[in-house]
């Protein structure tokens, strides 16, 4: 799934950076009041803290080892249902592994994939976007053509072809995500840098005699960093879902490594009989991604350039 929002932000910002003022000031005058909170949303933050905590302290929290299974105890329901025991709180899967433990350890994989993949994609994309905007000319054209080309292929198809070529597994998932998602950063960074470059204060700075580099690092980059962080935050959620989709197609993280996405995808055929195999990982994914999205929304609003204008 593409992170629509952040490119939305990019387009809106390029539309509404400085020009937004001209649109509004054409229709009206003055600055309207905006509602705004200073502190982050409570429940998403709590949930994210739990997820990160689970990831870090997994060996202490999880009742069972992530690999341990016993065919004799397969498909046990959660503890509160008939046939469930308190030993396996959320039940067991089809090979007898404890679902709760796998969800706790799965937080590690999801966050690992998330941070690593998004980090790599962000770094590559930011660098290339900066290069494109700084040098302009044919360098810009070349990089943007590559971005255009890549974004003309549905991401899942590209990911699928690459995964089939390299082979399924955790490393492949991370690499594929990096290859698919760098383009969003490149476009965002480039457009931000370009739009800031055209602002009055930049021209003024140039007239005064500031070097390009000073302008980029002192004035442009701080704005851009915020957008990148907002994009990365939201992409964290997108990437978790992307892993689930790859697993659905058969090419995600492989057993015995527990990952929420593959647990959900593999468990879906038990949805009628042993629903706990898929519903709990599904809940984990949904809550985490929702929290990440809400957090990212809050960040975006907090760092909206319209407020920094004065």
């Amino acid at each position: 799934m593409e992170p629509l929002k952040q490119v939305t932000g990019e387009r809106v910002r390029e539309y509404s950076g400085e020009r937004e003022d001209s649109l509004v000031t054409r229709m009206a005058s003055g600055i309207r009041a905006r509602r705004w909170t200073g502190h982050p949303p409570v429940l998403p933050s709590v949930i994210l803290a739990i997820v990160v905590g689970a990831a870090i302290f997994a060996p202490f929290l999880a009742p069972f080892d992530q690999d341990y299974f016993d065919l004799g105890g397969s498909l046990q329901p959660p503890a509160w249902m008939i046939g469930g025991t308190s030993e396996y709180l959320l039940g067991t899967d089809n090979t007898g592994r404890d679902i709760l433990s796998r969800i706790i350890y799965g937080a590690r994989i999801s966050l690992l994939v998330g941070f690593l993949a998004v980090g790599l994609a962000g770094t590559v994309g930011t660098v290339l976007g900066l290069v494109a905007a700084y040098f302009e000319g044919w360098v810009d054209a070349l990089i943007m053509r590559i971005v255009d080309i890549q974004m003309s292929v549905p991401s899942i198809l590209l990911a699928l072809i690459l995964s089939a070529a390299i082979g399924p597994g955790l490393a492949t998932v991370i690499m594929v995500i990096m290859i698919v998602y760098w383009t969003y950063y490149a476009r965002l960074v480039r457009s931000e840098v370009l739009s800031v470059k055209t602002r009055d204060f930049v021209s003024l700075a140039r007239v005064v005699g500031c070097s390009d580099r000073r302008i980029v690092f002192r004035h442009i980059l701080p704005n851009v960093v915020n957008s990148i962080v907002v994009l990365a935050t939201v992409q964290l959620g997108t990437v978790i879902i992307f892993e689930a989709t790859l697993s659905f197609l058969g090419l995600g993280v492989q057993p015995p490594t527990p990952a929420w996405g593959s647990m959900l995808a593999d468990g879906r055929t038990y949805v009628g009989s042993a629903w706990w195999l898929s519903v709990f990982p599904g809940l984990a994914i949904t809550l985490t991604v929702l929290s990440v999205n809400l957090f990212g929304d809050w960040l975006r609003v907090k760092w909206d350039p319209k407020r920094r204008r004065l």
């Binding site: 009041a33 905006r34 509602r35 705004w36 909170t37 200073g38 949303p41 409570v42 429940l43 998403p44 949930i47 299974f69 065919l71 004799g72 397969s74 329901p77 249902m81 089809n94 090979t95 007898g96 995964s163 089939a164 082979g167 399924p168 597994g169 058969g250 090419l251 492989q254 057993p255 015995p256 593999d266 879906r268 055929t269 038990y270 949805v271 009628g272 009989s273 629903w275 519903v279 599904g282 809940l283 994914i285 949904t286 809550l287 929702l290 929290s291 809400l294 929304d297 809050w298 609003v301 407020r307 004065l310």
Partner: protein, 541 residues
């Protein structure tokens, strides 16, 4: 800077609480049980039946296609000189009588009279000659290796054909009876309509004729009213393609389809407890086994001698795996234990029992072979939709082996890579791609259209599926292929199977059992080993 403090709900407009409430509702919206509870199934009319399938046969041309999935279409539309009965034994079909020359190289077939093709042309010896020639044309059928000995087919006189072989073949009649090979098509139709029509509007002599097809959606058949044999019950049959297992199972529950071929195994348990539906299980030709590379002399990574070339190590592995647990717990009964051959096969010996689960013996054997501290190994598994449960079976096997001292790491590969690795003849060039030491296997000797074929293709030295070598075994198999007398063939097959069993050429895990699911107003008796839906065996109750 002047900011307006907002009210607490925030400009992004919704509280966390409400959002999360919705999330909880969203992903846990299902009541735990009775989710797929159905209303009573409506009665099925004899006019029309809808069958759901998960795989789509890509090619309808009788001679171009090769492989099991095409059979879904073939079994109802085309016929051959012979056919198989419910126990998979050859019986007359388009040929009523046949004879074999004493040297076993020539067969004569007397053809059935009064048979018509779907387009009305009469079936004659010309059609047989044409069909044989076309099927043997490498430009039409690319895989000729298994019939290269079928040299020619000619019409002797009206209603009789003669087939020449270049060497003896004890399996020839079984080959002709199998729904995959040598299907009879109409020469007159080909002359009139051409190659394209064979694919777009195929014509055969079978109980159903082709009506229309929508690729990726469905294909439709209609009962052939001039069929020479007993007519089947349903007038029209629509096969709908539904690739996703959950959707396929759901479509049966809602009544959108009446019958499901290869019902997803994870839904079987639950459906058998649901009123209004019936499950019919059938044993198939697939044996899931553990393929062990006993050909290599050394370990490709370390250069040390290959432990798995030692028969005792392989026997230890065979004793270390609890097949009953895998079948009953993991597969929920959708599997059957196998020793070598299937009960329906020529040369089956009921005294040869599947390798028993004996952990102590396994460890003792390992120690005896010189590995008291165990061995480190890699298992190459298969993932993807092709074989359900392949991932979990691999994990279970790895766990059992590790418990016995063979510390197994699992590496799962996608089908393309698995194909490369599983071919013992091809991967010899690139050592890193060779299957070592063992991995997931999908076919074994049992269940081939004839035991002799299975014994040859899967375990004879030098064949792509074979990962062991035994001169003794090869000699016996060679002899089978020089014999045509049925009793002798059976005795030799039994002997070869025994050698294979004693030598632990591979370790069969289970024979795949599939389920057909249907409304309980239907009944179905499949041919053993079949996975297709032969409409002539599908009847209303």
């Amino acid at each position: 800077m002047a900011h307006d403090r907002s009210d607490r709900s925030g400009s992004y407009g919704f509280t966390r609480r409400s959002a999360l409430k919705l999330a909880l509702a969203g992903s846990a919206a299902l009541p735990p049980s009775g989710l797929l509870a159905s209303k009573a199934a409506a009665a099925v009319s004899i006019d029309k039946i809808t069958i759901g399938v998960g795989d789509e046969p890509p090619i309808f041309d009788p001679h171009k296609a090769y492989g099991g999935i095409s059979g879904y279409f073939f079994v109802n539309v085309y016929e051959g000189l012979l056919a198989t009965d419910l126990d998979n034994k050859p019986i007359p079909a388009l040929a009523t009588k046949w004879s074999m020359s004493p040297d076993g190289l020539t067969y004569e077939f007397q053809l059935r009279e009064g048979v018509k093709f779907h387009t009305g042309e009469p079936f004659t010896e010309e059609d047989v000659v044409f069909s044989f020639r076309r099927f043997r044309d490498p430009k039409v059928q690319s895989h000729q290796a298994n019939f290269s000995h079928v040299e020619g087919c000619e019409a002797i006189k009206k209603g009789t054909v003669r087939v020449k072989l270049s060497k003896q073949d004890p399996t020839f009649l079984a080959l002709l009876a199998n729904f995959n090979y040598f299907r009879i098509a109409s020469k007159a139709y080909y002359d009139k309509a051409g190659d394209d029509a064979f694919e777009k509007s195929p014509v055969g002599t079978g109980p159903y004729k082709f009506v229309r097809r929508s690729i990726k959606e469905s294909w439709e058949l209609e009962r052939f009213e001039d069929y020479w044999d007993e007519k089947p019950a349903f007038k029209r049959a629509t096969f709908r393609v539904i690739p996703e297992a959950v959707t396929l199972a759901a479509a049966l529950k809602t009544g959108e389809i009446d019958f499901v071929q290869n019902y997803p195994p994870t839904f079987v348990d639950e459906l058998s407890k649901t009123p209004g539906f019936r499950i019919v299980k059938n044993k198939t030709i697939n044996t899931i086994d553990l393929r062990i590379n006993s050909i290599r002399g050394t370990d490709p990574a370390t250069g040390a001698p290959n432990p798995f070339a030692d028969r005792r190590v392989r026997m230890a592995m065979a004793n270390a795996i609890d097949k009953d647990a895998i079948i009953n717990r993991l597969l929920k009964g959708m599997g059957e234990k196998v020793a070598v051959l299937f009960p329906e096969d020529v040369g089956y010996d009921p005294n040869v029992k599947p390798y028993p689960y004996d952990l102590k013996k396994a460890k003792a054997l390992l120690a005896e072979a010189g590995y008291p501290n165990g061995i480190d190994a890699t298992y190459y598994g298969l993932v993807g939709q092709r074989m359900p449960m392949s991932k979990e079976v691999g994990e279970a096997v790895a766990q059992y082996l590790t418990a016995a001292g063979i510390r197994t790491k699992v590496v799962n590969e996608e089908y393309g890579m698995w194909l490369k690795r599983s071919n013992s003849r091809d991967s010899a060039a690139d050592v890193s791609l060779q299957l070592y030491p063992f991995g997931y296997g999908m076919t074994w000797v049992g269940g081939a259209f004839h035991s002799a074929f299975g014994l040859k293709v899967n375990a004879y030295s030098g064949t792509p599926f074979s990962w062991w070598e035994s001169k003794e075994y090869d000699t016996v198999v060679d002899e089978i292929w020089r014999t045509t007398e049925p009793a002798k063939v059976e005795e030799l097959c039994r002997k070869a199977a025994q050698i294979l069993y004693d030598g632990v050429g591979t370790i069969p895990l289970y024979r795949v059992i599939i389920a057909y699911a249907m409304k309980d107003t239907l009944t179905f008796s499949p041919t053993v080993n079949s996975t297709a839906v032969e409409l002539k065996y599908l009847r209303p109750v």
